[in-house]
Amino acid sequence: MLANIDEEWREMIVKYLIPLRHYEWGANMNACAVSDAGYGAALTSAMIFTTGDRLGIAQILSRIGIVLSEGDAELLGRAKQAWMEADAWQGVRKAIEDSLVEKDWFEVLLAQFLVMDGMVYPLVYKHFDTAGQKHGAAALSILCEFMVDWSAEHNRWVDAVVKTAVKESDENRVLLSDWYGKWRSIMSEALQPQAAMVLGDGGEAVLNEVCEQLDARASKLGLTL
């Protein structure tokens, strides 16, 4: 099914998509951390289901890597090396590792599920995917359909949680807005090399668009930008 993809774009997929299995594993750990430390079943129950979903997505990406690799682990190994060493990935990996040691579970929730996912998902599964269409990657869109559907559903939950917390008090709004600003700035910088690598000169504009859309979403939730 993936045989129609250009050789050159296959290489690109190994660079931009397959390393995301580690990003998903980080998101899995963050969801589990919120389920562990969070307060209230409305949050903690949902977060253990998310924990499972993110492991599931990491496994979908792993399978895509195995298929592209014609049944072995070679490409997964290269993608992991990229995650660990390639300059393009270090900002994202650092952001994830920093979130793993963050003690405030609500900050983890906001950082991972509103900010990081709010940039990574549209950038990768919308813009990078669209770019792949010119290179015969239509089949890849089908394999990533779950991620698109899943995040649309999950975002509704994330938005409801953040909105409720913002409405609760002015102190909440200020604190959450601070956190939003902090992680937005980290992530918009961390994703620049990704956008440039996949989209070339157009990358910056696309990333700006993604950030603006996230800002618009955050404003609607009551966050001060």
């Binding site: 589990c32 389920s35 499972g52 599931g56 496994q59 195995i66 014609e70």
Partner: protein, 507 residues
């Protein structure tokens, strides 16, 4: 399509890529900061990669199996409700076993979900971390499906409606609750030993089988179906428990004394909690499955014996006081039911005295103890009831600081003498029902001296007031409805009305 030119990976390799392959050694943050909880207990893990996955379940398969199972479960629950399944049970007294389950056990499933989430985040090894995540999901699903299953009974019988509120307050529910609080406030390896090994592996058959077989014998199709639905998950939980123990013992010889101490502790704590199940089996099932003593022989003495023989190659021995627990298998249910009978006014389910046939069954099942020590007491209480002098114990009991059960148990080897131990810690004296409970306290006095004990709380004025009626209100128990004997209860009236209507229909 071009044929694959490379050698296909086997299942084990593939699964490793789907789990361990995702993980990485962090470098922007220290691994010890990312995993701050898995070293302080003193368990030494030299090589996490030696972990053998006891099962290989990817998430897509997990969602698929669980979805299918739950669709089937809910179909059965619907049909049970539509067919008025609550009228087809053996006797309405049976429902009290389900009340005990919902108030005492279901909240533990939820607690297990919460704490396996802790392990699912904080265990450094990816294999057990993923297994813990799946178990956290399982336990949450079990809590939810149990509540759904049992909610049907809540429409017709009393005692169910306030189960989470009661779990945090009622005297006998503090027994299972404190057991889990103890485990959840321990380190991750102790939690694994307590819950995955001692509870899920060694003792699970003494909890799950009695309730699920009890349901089957007593016409409770809904609960039986839940039991079947949970079975494949329980099998995974058991394999995780045994794998964790073996792994700790294989990793470093220094782990043995720590693990042994935990096995001793959690065996004893589990034995005390299971006393509630013992009572349920011997007294609360209108149609009995087997006696607690028989269950103990099969599931602990035989199965547990074989297990510990197998584990002896790691140097692990049978838990301390296993011999005492085995002796108590012929006492504990009788002593517990006697406690509940005396304190029926403060119980969230109904009590009753065994009838002649039931007394004979107990005599037969416990030939060494029942006629000598317990039958005369029940017969005396029966005589008192007949004279209109039903016995209530109106004094607040002293509770064991460790297991939180009223101090009604007897000395090993002397069933006419109440067991009693105490320890002094920081100028305060603490009381225990048994040497096993005292040993546990003495090993961690700072932890157990902080235990929340209901009787102390009542005396301190933290439980709604000084009178029984105040405490019942604080429990959210309705006097004369949720508590007291089955005879004369609204449950009984409802059941008798159903039976009368059935007779009428049958002509």
């Amino acid at each position: 399509m071009t044929p694959p030119r490379k050698k296909k990976m086997n299942l084990k390799q593939r699964y490793a890529l789907m789990t361990r392959g995702l993980d990485w050694e962090t470098s922007y943050q220290k691994m010890d900061d990312v995993f701050p909880y898995d070293t302080f207990e003193g368990i030494k893990i030299t090589d996490w990669s030696k972990w053998e996955d006891p099962f290989r379940l990817t998430m897509d398969a997990y969602w698929k199996y669980q979805g299918e199972k739950e669709r089937k479960l809910y179909a059965v629950l619907d049909s049970f409700a539509q067919n008025n399944g609550q009228q087809g049970i053996s006797d309405a007294r049976y429902v009290n076993a389900i009340k005990l389950f919902l108030t005492g056990v279901t909240p533990l499933e939820y607690q297990a979900h919460r704490h396996f989430a802790h392990l699912g985040r904080h265990i450094r090894g990816v294999g057990p971390r993923v297994a813990a995540q799946m178990q956290s999901l399982d336990e949450l699903r079990h809590a939810q499906t149990q509540i759904h299953t049992i909610s049907h009974y809540n429409k017709y019988f009393d005692g169910f409606a306030e189960f989470p509120h009661m779990h945090d307050r009622v005297w006998y529910l503090s027994v299972p609750k404190s057991f889990f609080d103890d485990a959840c406030s321990a380190g991750p390896f102790e939690f694994f030993t307590a819950i995955s090994f001692a509870f899920e592996y060694v003792l699970t058959n003494l909890l799950f089988v009695p309730f699920m077989s009890g349901a089957a014998y007593n016409g409770d199709l809904a609960t039986v179906t839940f039991g079947f639905s949970a079975q494949s998950d329980e099998a995974r939980h058991m394999t995780l428990g045994i794998e964790v123990i073996k792994f700790m013992l294989e990793q470093h010889p220094d782990n043995l004394p720590i693990v042994q101490k935990w096995v001793d502790k959690w065996f004893w704590r589990g034995h005390k909690v299971l006393g509630l199940v013992a009572m349920m089996m011997d007294y609360m099932l209108p149609k009995r499955i087997m006696s607690w003593k028989e269950a103990w022989e099969i599931y602990f003495t035989e199965a547990g014996g074989a297990l510990f023989e197998d584990l002896s190659r790691y140097g692990l021995r049978v838990p301390k006081y296993a011999d005492i627990a085995t002796d108590e298998a012929e006492h504990i249910s009788h002593q517990n039911w006697a406690i509940f009978y005396q304190y029926t006014q403060a119980a969230g389910f109904h009590t009753w005295l065994p009838n002649d046939e039931e007394l004979d069954w107990l005599s037969e099942k416990c030939p060494n103890t029942f006629d000598k020590y317990y039958r005369p007491r029940f017969e005396m209480w029966r005589e008192m009831e007949a004279k209109g002098e039903r016995f209530y114990n109106n004094a607040l009991p002293q509770l064991c600081q460790t297991c939180q059960i009223p101090m009604g148990y007897t000395e090993p080897g002397d069933p006419t003498k109440i067991g009693f131990r105490s320890s002094v810690y920081k100028d305060e004296r603490y009381h225990f029902c048994s040497q096993g409970c005292k040993d546990i306290f003495d090993d961690e006095p700072e932890k157990f001296s902080q235990a929340w004990l209901l009787v102390h709380q009542i005396f301190q004025g933290n439980c709604g007031g000084a009178d029984l009626s105040d405490v019942l209100k604080w429990y959210h128990m309705d006097q004369g409805i949720d508590n007291m004997d089955y005879t004369g209860s609204p449950d009984q009236k409802q059941w008798d009305a159903w039976q009368a209507a059935r007779k009428k229909v049958a002509g």
